[in-house]
Point group: D2
């Protein structure tokens, strides 16, 4: 791994009245001795909203973190900003939920081990024991929380207690085969990422590869999205596709799909952890 | 254009009991002095059907065309084949239906002019006069057949009379903005190709780019399919996709989509005219 | 075509010392009543250079164009900027050079006709008469300037006089089969775009599809680049690729390549005309 | 894993005079009670060679394996065939060579564990101990054979003895950072697969991502090829690419490249093990 670079601050903002906002924020960085590393913005004419991502070096910055927060709060009031401020040296804590399929879990764990995920993988949670050795191999604690049909609420209560005790910022569903309750989801808005094994909105629901085969499509896909209370309808973070043909039976589609699923999921998690994703109603702005 | 190669025969077959079929057909070609140029097959376990495409050189073949037909009929009875036999020197006759958008029409006409389409483009038919100069530029006759809401049946009758008089084998809907009646479609099963400007089955119906924007997808697509009586539900011949982002407004999606539409449509028409496509229920087998 | 939006100014800058630059430029826009429409930047650690693209609305802006120029000059001196300022209502003038192959020319002309090119196509120049009817069909003046081996300098002199008289900003080589002299090229740095029919730097020079077939590659490509005095070595603007197989003979590669060539060239020209491309030594920064 | 299907025989042939060959081979299968599962062929006009892959069910086939071999030998003499005959229940034995980078190794091991590789992974061989725990995790024996600069021959002798003792059919270089000697390579023609981290033939040799960055390409690639005595020049089995931009520094290119490398390598190994690859001079025919 290369040397850790000096920390940076990342500010994400959304607002309605933007006149002078870029000037105000860049002046704030400049006047306090900072250097803008990256700045990106997007105006959404449909909603009238404006989005911005601003990254600056903390090396030589004259304000400390409480002072930064205070200064941003001041600007936020002036422009009615919604905002989110993070630092690269305060890494997000991630829990992966999985069931029996290992491919997405391996990809996340390997990406983490190679130091490219942008967060800390602190737990693997599963309703089965099949993947325990995978988590152990990568030195990530494994938590077995069985989910019985007659007591899903009890299982979710245990999961939530665990997530709270581990101070988890992001939950990643890596082909986790249980539907989370609306209560669980409402608790973590924009903090649960799922991988769906189709090109949403095509093939919502169960067995999308069988649906794809049935329809005779020539391209299959995978979709990473934030989980909302509506199944398979949350804001899409990333998607990808690959070509298939009549020669691909359902087994082949599943194999090709696995490739897509793990790539798209890991990419989406990385985008989230690098603070590149903003949610606007049911869509995302992804600053690439 | 390169020299015309010597003609070949292309046989497409579908059947249920295939034991000995490849041996019988290859013996038929060999024993009559032919040389197999290309052979491809596909067994579909779901339906129990078997599909084959066989291409052989006619140079030196001892049977003439009526005799070939007779011999194939003999084999077909033995194996209960559905079959279709064509010759590369008897080119299919194609009519393109368009309305006002020129991009797909240009692509087909240019592909035809470059000698890569595999058929003869004998007519451009439109309910408007906007594209007349395009057809004329490429020396293809243009036919203006207005379609009035109160007399669609009359317009279709004129269209059908024209297609019959021109002995048209294939109708290509190049962003033709009228829905064909079930009667028109039933008359030409597997002989009408449409381009839909979405990744079907996502975004069936009108304004798919607006639907795509609304859903916040990260990939858009286009689909070429045979027209059946169910709107946007016919067998898919080809599809393609491209990445989009939050930066792409609907105008951009339409522009990127145009690229996809014309590529996918021209490719599908060429696959059809090269006799590479077989239809099985609501899916296609495309021998690439 | 939709209504013309109100004009915007686009400023491209490159510099070494950037501290405070974003603040200075955004203050300049804000304090003069402008609204930033788009801002993008890139720091290149290898060279220590910093690049920025800034777009703002001119509606309500209190400075007129000479005043804007004066103000930017002031900032430019302070930060030692290299800069380029354009307005969307002062469209660039483009000449296309072609020889006999029509596909790239059609694509540019159609894109222009559909209003998506971002500049004005004012001339088609060719050493042959084959494509005259294509230019005429799209109402673009055609200029036949023969290039004889014994007097290439004379032909180039005529081309340059024509370009000067038409006040051409950008020359696009749309499969133009003549190598331009170093003098011609030196005269228009970063103002000549070529399409090379390979994935550069693989297959430099002549007959790249034959080279690709010889090497048995599984992917072919096309590359749009600025022309410099070194053949096929100028800064790359865009590239794309498609899969091929052993079944593709050289004719097929050429056909598939044509698709790539025209897409990549038109895309590169549009990126240039939208002022999204900056050149840094032998590479480009493309603000997408 | 699904039930093992009944075994099939796969015959690969290459020859010059093909007249009657398809008829002879399909008659051989039919008359002995076999059923053709898959047949594919390719005529290469440049070389005059003809290639064929024939797969048939052994269930109900009246000949045993020695008799099949005898019968094929008979046909082979008649048509001067080069041929290769394998059975799906006699799985190829594969050794993976790696050094320190884990990503390709994980991909192969996981693919093997999921039952999709089409061969048996019997050994991981490395000149370092870093990846021992990875092999162990997947229950594949790990062999540490150090390679010292002063005694590469000795190390290769140990490797070859190991491969012989394990009856290894295929060696896969999964980012193995040592160049094999011509002797080692000559010993296993068409039996060593390497992954090169560029779109060959661009960026031959060391540090291709640095070369790609230097050239400013917009697409990077990876290439799986058979190893020959000429470095990075062996027949290409598969390639893939992904888009990059000026924003991607070398670290990013390496990360994106890792994705390509492992996908392309695993795909190439699977194609080889499914007996879909034929070598003709310095190119491959890949029956997809």
């Amino acid at each position: 791994m290369p040397d850790a670079p000096s920390p940076t601050a990342t500010l994400l903002v959304a607002c309605r009245d933007r006149t002078g906002l870029v000037a105000a924020l860049s002046a704030f960085v400049f006047e306090n001795g900072g250097n803008i590393r990256d700045a990106d913005q997007h105006a959404e004419p449909e909603s009238g909203l404006f989005f911005m991502r601003l990254v600056w070096d903390l090396k030589g910055f004259v304000l400390d973190r409480p002072q930064i927060r205070q200064a941003i709060e001041h600007i936020a009031r002036r422009f009615s900003l919604q905002w989110d401020l993070t630092y690269t040296d305060e890494r997000a804590r991630v829990a992966v939920f999985a069931t029996r399929m290992p491919h997405c879990l391996y990809d996340l764990l390997l990406s983490h081990q190679l130091g490219e995920l942008g967060g800390d993988l602190v737990a693997v949670v599963s309703n089965h024991r099949d993947l325990e050795s995978v988590a152990t191999h990568f030195d990530v604690p494994f938590h077995h929380i069985p989910v019985e049909r007659i007591d899903k609420a009890g299982a979710e209560a245990k999961q939530m207690a665990l997530l709270d005790s581990l101070r988890v910022d992001l939950v990643v569903l890596a082909r986790y085969m249980q539907v989370l309750s609306p209560g669980f989801v409402a608790h973590r808005p924009g903090r649960i990422i799922n991988i769906h094994h189709s090109f949403l909105p095509a093939f919502v629901g169960a067995k999308p590869y069988h649906q794809a085969k049935e329809k005779g499509v020539k391209v299959i896909g995978a979709t990473a999205h934030y989980v909302t209370s509506e199944l398979d309808q949350g804001p899409i973070i990333d998607q990808d596709v690959c070509r298939v043909s009549h020669r691909d039976d359902v087994e082949h589609l599943i194999r090709k799909g696995r490739e897509l699923e793990r790539q798209v999921l890991t990419r989406a998690v990385r985008l989230h952890l690098e603070r590149r994703v903003l949610i606007s109603e049911n869509r995302t702005i992804v600053f690439g």
